[in-house]
Symmetry: C2
Subunit: 221 residues, 2 copies
């Protein structure tokens, strides 16, 4: 009983934190979105992550990041925020391995010339530890990355949608480039196996970056 009571008290604070986040993002997007829209994004982003996330202590911080990115995506798709670089989203089932590696590798490859996101159809509780390790040994820190569900706003904002083992779960909108990459699922695999998947992804990511950044070149994909 005491424990239950404490939980409720703890989460009263969460509600207040989410309201403060809503106000902060509401000011930032005041010229684009109604305050109601921003508040809904913050609270639904929190609920969406709470459904599956393992660590809950930093969940409001993560929810703020997720909500801010989704609002930015929506603003981009409405043309309210200018985007002069291609927008790419990688989608796999858990957003814990393949799509996270692909997003990190394309971000490095593109050096700011592509805006990169990732998402999952059934987000895992956390990133695969072997995936974090395989990226860490390349100097890429995924400690602040988190699995998140694929949302409509992110698909809308994207010029390129790359699915990996979850093609059916992604809404298809006209005017976008869709690709399905057939890659092994690294979930629960050894570090050595994950490294192999990582290297396959890197090869494809380089070809993708080439085709997006040098569209006059022959498409390597």
């Amino acid at each position: 009983m005491t424990e239950h009571h404490e939980t409720i008290l703890g989460l009263q604070d969460t509600t207040e934190v989410l309201h403060r986040i809503s106000e902060r993002l509401g000011e930032k997007y005041a010229s684009i979105f109604a305050a109601e829209t921003v508040e809904r994004y913050v609270f639904e982003s929190y609920a969406a992550l709470a459904r599956t996330a393992k660590v809950t202590a930093y969940l409001p911080v993560t929810a703020e990041h997720f909500a801010a990115d989704r609002l930015h995506a929506l603003a981009t798709s409405k043309g309210a925020v200018a985007s002069d670089v291609p927008e790419v989203v990688f989608v796999c089932v858990q957003n814990a391995g393949r799509s996270q590696m692909a997003a990190a590798l394309l971000t490095v490859e593109a050096k700011g010339r592509i805006n990169v996101r990732s998402a999952g159809s059934m987000p895992a509780a956390e990133l695969d530890p072997a995936v974090r390790a395989a990226m860490s040994e390349m100097g890429l820190d995924l400690s602040r990355s988190y699995p998140k569900p694929l949302t409509d706003d992110v698909v809308r904002a994207s010029d390129v949608v790359i699915t990996m083992g979850c093609g059916d779960s992604c809404p298809i909108y006209p005017g976008k480039r869709y690709e399905d990459w057939d890659l092994p699922d690294p979930s629960g695999q050894s570090l050595e196996s994950v490294r192999q998947v990582r290297d396959q992804i890197q090869e494809r990511v380089r070809a993708l970056a080439g085709s997006l950044l040098n569209p006059t070149e022959k498409d390597h994909i």
Copy 2:
């Protein structure tokens, strides 16, 4: 290539259907929500179901139902729509068995005097066939029920939140009654096992209905 092209054409229609749904619901809620809010609800509800649902042919229809119910929940929690009956939500992991049975059984028990919803932390592709069968033999038709993710709006609108095996995944807001029911997961079980779970749920549901509808009685829970 042809197949891919056809898919895109097919889903261009989906986009149009979702816009028409947005207009319809937008008119209904014109005095309560901005058109932007309603459109976001429709498209995000569609994307959320598309992530996990198995059957996609009727997905826009299902998405309209889900979006309409979420908007109604949000309107209720804002006090913009009067609710003179208790609001209850049942939450399990897949929203394919326990929470669906509980919602159907409480709806029957309450005879309109309680508003009942259900949701899941990781929605399954479809309802468990044995669960449909066990409810069907009681005369309850779950053929139009569908697994859906737990959303902030539904939790907010609820006076009572009953979790079953997924307590951590549900946002806790002050002023609500939270209970966790310890019940076996019927997923993949035989019809006979599912019947036993169903009957356990029915017993608890009756006690819950009694405590909500006759609050002066001793609480049986």
